[in-house]
């Protein structure tokens, strides 16, 4: 029954999208500047029906309706209700439904929030957005239908991977999708702006807040994904430059470049076509990312199950999107007159864009290069963290300096009178770095540079904050985000340099000593839980300097449905550092392999990202207030 209802609603939505496209095209030809009620009505109807459709799927998961293949493959009666619900979007088919729901809701919201804009621009945007919607709905109906039925109905589901039953992972897709799926709306708006030859200023003002919203949620989505990786996956890291992670980072670079360019346009009216390009690029990258992740073309720690047919469909869709964008862009491009002084804020924002594109190209290249070597030379290679770190980090050093100086440079033309202030700040940064080296230990040249420039950005921002406060011309959102970014890099740099990682094979009763620590495997406890058995190790970490003892209890969990083995890390966090311990058994041996890590300042890394996003939301509220 639910299967039929779901399918019906999907078909209904295709029909409604088509209805919107046709009526919009009809009303474009008619004179007058008001969008007729009927379009609002169809859009409301469309939003309502897709929401019902989505909740139909959620309902199916909650009641464990195994007639639906998706529910059968991804759920289980014994799963807690919260995770049954999260399981709705924790799989390929369900998450595509999430894609569509966001495409449709954003379409509706755009209609509602752009009443001040002319009919032509709004209608064409809605048409393009609905073409995207139809594309995805067709994909869902004919390739990845969450409502496909199974007969006879199985009595139990295949269960969901226990690693995926985690609160952070539950909200990760919705956050991320508001980010990069949300970018669809300014993709459509950009196409519409080109097609209707829309006023450049009006276009920018129409998409400004959408860009900010998608950027904030994209950042949060990435943060939550990293938090999940750190707490759940047991390797103690939070970023692996894995293809799926990179797929979420690529649109983020484009979005960041975009909203900075919007600022330049608003102030000086420059770079309209670059703004358009970035609008188109962001969503194109989102679809590219989804292609890379779902087609199975790449080997990754967290790909969905793969199916080449999916890949072909998405690639074709992507090709259509790319070539129609290029066609429109080339056709409508008009030369711009730049009147740019090198000593101006505009130039610095241009430099920001330049660096963002560099990061984008590096990450994109690193991600797809293995495909190229495989296809062209039949040789398989791996591109991992060492590549990305080596290429990107040196450039970040300079980037941080630019981030510090740029915002303080005046528009149009700066007279550099405060060079010596910068020298002071650089001195201060170097002195603090020296202090760190003296108190703790020395590290590589690159680390020195990164920490000095991060401190430079932080100190400049703080001085800026004090100055702005005094002159009561405060731009809190920028200061908070930039300063927090400096802190993020600082904390990552310090964490990287001062982490201790030890790998031991240890047996019960044994103690290992290193630096000023000792670890003893004191006890092994076997415990039985409702859906798993656990072997819990009791390890005592003794800090010989402070004589402080910590007991950590990592677990080896044996689940029976599905049959999996997971390793739960024992993490003890405080404001200074995290202790991180995982334990695994060694086959045919009484020894256990333990990995102990001391990771300074972990919590501050998460807090920094939250603050960066906070700055973004602050800007959003300021914009809303000013309107």
């Amino acid at each position: 029954m639910l299967s039929n209802l779901g399918n019906l609603l999907l078909f209904l939505n295709i029909f409604l999208s088509a209805a919107i496209i046709f009526s919009a095209l009809k009303y474009l030809k008619i004179s007058g500047n008001l969008i007729p009620k009927i379009i609002y009505q169809i859009s409301t109807f469309q939003s309502t029906s897709i929401i019902i459709c989505f909740f139909t799927l959620v309902g199916a998961f909650i009641i464990s309706d195994f007639t639906l293949i998706t529910v059968y493959q991804n759920s289980h009666t014994l799963k807690p209700t919260f995770y049954k619900i999260a399981g709705t979007w924790g799989n390929h088919e369900g998450s595509l439904l999430l894609w569509v729901i966001i495409l449709i809701i954003f379409s509706f919201l755009f209609l509602v929030f752009t009443r001040k804009h002319p009919k032509e621009f709004r209608l064409v945007t809605i048409v393009i957005q609905n073409i995207l919607i139809v594309g995805f709905l067709f994909f869902i109906l004919f390739n990845s239908n969450p409502f496909s039925a199974l007969s006879p109905t199985p009595s139990e589901g295949l269960g969901l991977n226990p690693i995926l039953q985690d609160p952070a992972l539950a909200i990760h897709p919705p956050l991320l999708y508001v980010g990069f799926v949300g970018s669809s709306i300014y993709f459509s708006a950009a196409m519409a702006s080109l097609i209707t030859n829309y006023s450049q200023t009006s276009f920018v003002s129409s998409i400004k807040n959408w860009v900010l919203i998608s950027w904030c949620f994209q950042s949060l989505g990435i943060l939550v994904g990293s938090i999940w990786a750190y707490y759940e996956l047991g390797w103690g890291g939070f970023w692996f430059w894995d293809p799926v992670e990179n797929a979420s980072l690529l649109p983020w670079f484009a979005m960041t470049a975009l909203f900075h360019s919007l600022i330049v346009f608003e102030k000086r009216g420059l770079f309209y076509f670059w703004v358009i390009t970035l609008c188109l690029l962001t969503f194109i990258l989102s679809v590219t990312g989804t292609f890379l992740v779902r087609s199975g073309i790449l080997n990754s720690v967290h790909t969905f199950a793969s199916d080449p047919a999916r890949g072909i469909y998405i690639l074709l869709f992507l090709t259509l999107m790319i070539f129609s964008s290029i066609f429109l862009l080339f056709k409508n491009y008009k030369k711009e007159n730049y009147n740019l002084n090198p000593n101006s804020k505009e130039t610095f924002i241009l430099i920001n864009n330049w660096f963002m594109m560099f990061y984008l190209i590096t990450v994109f290249l690193g991600t797809i290069y293995p495909i190229f070597t495989d296809v062209l030379t039949e040789n398989k290679i791996s591109v991992g963290p060492p590549f990305y770190n080596m290429v990107i980090i040196p450039i970040v050093v300079i980037f941080l300096l630019v981030m510090a100086i740029g915002p303080k440079v005046k528009w149009i033309k700066e007279r550099f009178t405060n060079l010596k202030n910068y020298l002071f700040i650089l001195m201060g940064s170097t002195l603090i770095n020296l202090l760190i080296i003296f108190l703790f230990k020395s590290y590589s040249i690159l680390s020195n540079l990164i920490i000095i420039s991060a401190l430079f950005l932080i100190i400049s921002s703080l001085i800026d904050a004090i100055k702005s406060y005094r002159s009561s011309k405060i731009d809190f959102s920028r200061i908070i985000s930039h300063c927090s970014f400096g802190f993020l890099i600082l904390f990552i740099g310090l964490n990287n340099n001062f982490s201790i990682e030890k790998d031991y094979n240890i047996k019960l009763g044994e103690t290992k000593n290193f630096n000023n620590y000792s670890i003893k495997l004191q006890n092994l406890v076997l415990e039985d839980f409702s859906n798993y058995k656990a072997v819990i190790g009791e390890l005592v970490i003794n800090n010989k300097n402070t004589n402080q003892k910590n007991i950590l209890r990592p677990e080896i969990r044996i689940y029976n449905n599905p049959q999996t083995l997971t390793y739960e890390a024992a993490i003890k966090s405080n404001v200074i550092k995290d202790y991180y311990l995982t334990m695994s058994n060694i086959d045919r041996s009484e020894y256990y392999n333990i990995k102990f890590q001391k990771k300074p300042l972990m919590i501050w890394i998460w807090i920094s990202v939250v603050m960066i996003v906070f700055g973004g939301f602050l800007r959003l509220f300021q914009n809303a207030k000013n309107n």
Partner: protein, 171 residues
């Protein structure tokens, strides 16, 4: 200048898309077939029973050698064992068995139960010799000729298809 951009960008994009399209049909599972054609340079395998070592020069005496990594704890090894017994009858082929990360008593039981097809039997208690030969899964078999060039690698248990291809090569 603009013309160059307008032509080169679509061309680059088409190139990327075509490569991605072809890439879809490629298998993402890795195999070490890139090693085929290379020579084995150094082995130092301890004899299973006696206190001597089996080295590269010993291999050169054989026309063809099939190096087979196995263990008593490995279920697929049982499955392929009968094929190994068949292969041991081949005149041109010598079988070098490497008992991988195993306990002698259990390995003895395995051989007593299923038969010993090996012309030479060695052991690799820590598994380090396996790394020297680019082995990463048990069972794994490597076919080499008298010049120690790797002719074929079989990761996982030998199938009858693998059996036939070995027969073809050595005759």
């Amino acid at each position: 200048m603009q013309k160059i951009i307008k032509i080169s960008i679509p061309i680059i994009l088409i190139f990327i898309i075509v490569v991605l399209f072809i890439g879809l049909n490629k298998d993402t599972n890795y195999n070490t077939n890139s090693l085929i054609g290379k020579k084995i340079s150094k082995i130092n395998l301890k004899h299973y029973n006696e206190n001597k070592f089996y080295k590269v020069d010993d291999l050169k005496k054989n026309k063809y050698t099939l190096i087979n990594f196995w263990a008593s704890w490995c279920a697929p090894c049982r499955a392929e064992h009968s094929l190994l017994i068949e292969l041991s009858k081949e005149k041109n082929l010598k079988l070098l068995g490497v008992n991988f990360k195993d306990k002698k008593r259990q390995a003895d039981v395995f051989l007593n139960e299923l038969g010993n097809p090996y012309d030479f039997l060695t052991k690799d208690k820590m598994g380090k010799n396996a790394v020297n030969l680019g082995v990463y899964g048990i069972p794994e078999s490597i076919l080499v000729d008298k010049n120690l060039t790797i002719l074929k690698k079989f990761v996982g248990p030998l199938s009858s298809k693998d059996f036939n291809s070995i027969i073809e090569i050595i005759n």
